[in-house]
Symmetry: C2
Subunit: 143 residues, 2 copies
Amino acid sequence: MSANSRLTIAAHALTWIGLYQRRGHEVATSEQIATSVNTNPVVIRRLLAELRKAGLADSQRGAGAGWMLVRDLAAITLLDVYEAIEPGPVFALHRATPDPECVVGRGIGPAMTAVYDEVEAALRRELAGTTLEDVLRDVLNAA
Amino acid sequence: MSANSRLTIAAHALTWIGLYQRRGHEVATSEQIATSVNTNPVVIRRLLAELRKAGLADSQRGAGAGWMLVRDLAAITLLDVYEAIEPGPVFALHRATPDPECVVGRGIGPAMTAVYDEVEAALRRELAGTTLEDVLRDVLNAA
DNA sequence: TTCGTCGTAACAATTACTGTTACGACCAAG
DNA sequence: CTTGGTCGTAACAGTAATTGTTACGACGAA
């Protein structure tokens, strides 16, 4: 499975903005966030643009502009972030339709879908149990 | 996330072999399995080779050869299959090390790792709860 | 008007998976 | 011991997603 760091980067960026705002700043620039994440500012802007669509972040333009949180860190769960940036499910069915002449070919799709639905539900329950406030607390404790 | 059909194909192939063997055949060829899955036989051989390494399947060579199960379908869980074919975790940390000068950069890795470990554990619990016997039962009921 | 920042297009590089061809290795059958 | 069917595996192209990078227009506060 292609390991995906998008959720990590998104959580990192939002947590960084949240901490920065608590220290009295209005907005955080993609440049600042990119320095902490160690990547290119465009990567941050692209990711935050998806989070803005989901109502988790917002941006100002012009001089002295940047990014801010729409909700408090305590009101954002990792499931919110996951749903904002992850397009598809973890597991997929066949690319090409299996042989409809075959019993297994006909029945395997529904059978696996039932399992995958439960897996996704379990994954979502776990992500829903952690807020970015929890993440920030762990971050500050680790430092 | 890049949706992955490998688990689907592997479960399909093993279930097909199991059903074929219950109907009195010794071995199943990659050609037969590929027809049911609707793909190329080499794809099946590659995948079954990984399952053989994990002790789930075995092959014979020569004329009249093919693939067979090592254990009964009831003794193989989807977690066994998942572990045999999935190389890495669902979520990854940063590709490049975050800024060690930054509090968030230092602490975000351990914080997210803790969450991801729980997510993986939940995913594994779900997969462990379904055997290929369960899958075959669903397949036959759907038909 | 200027300058800093976002918005976004465009492109290359990387990685993983899939599909396909090809050919050698192996072994039962005759 | 030859034949033919099957696996084992290398090699390559195509597809797709992610990431990193450059570039430039849009915007707005000063």
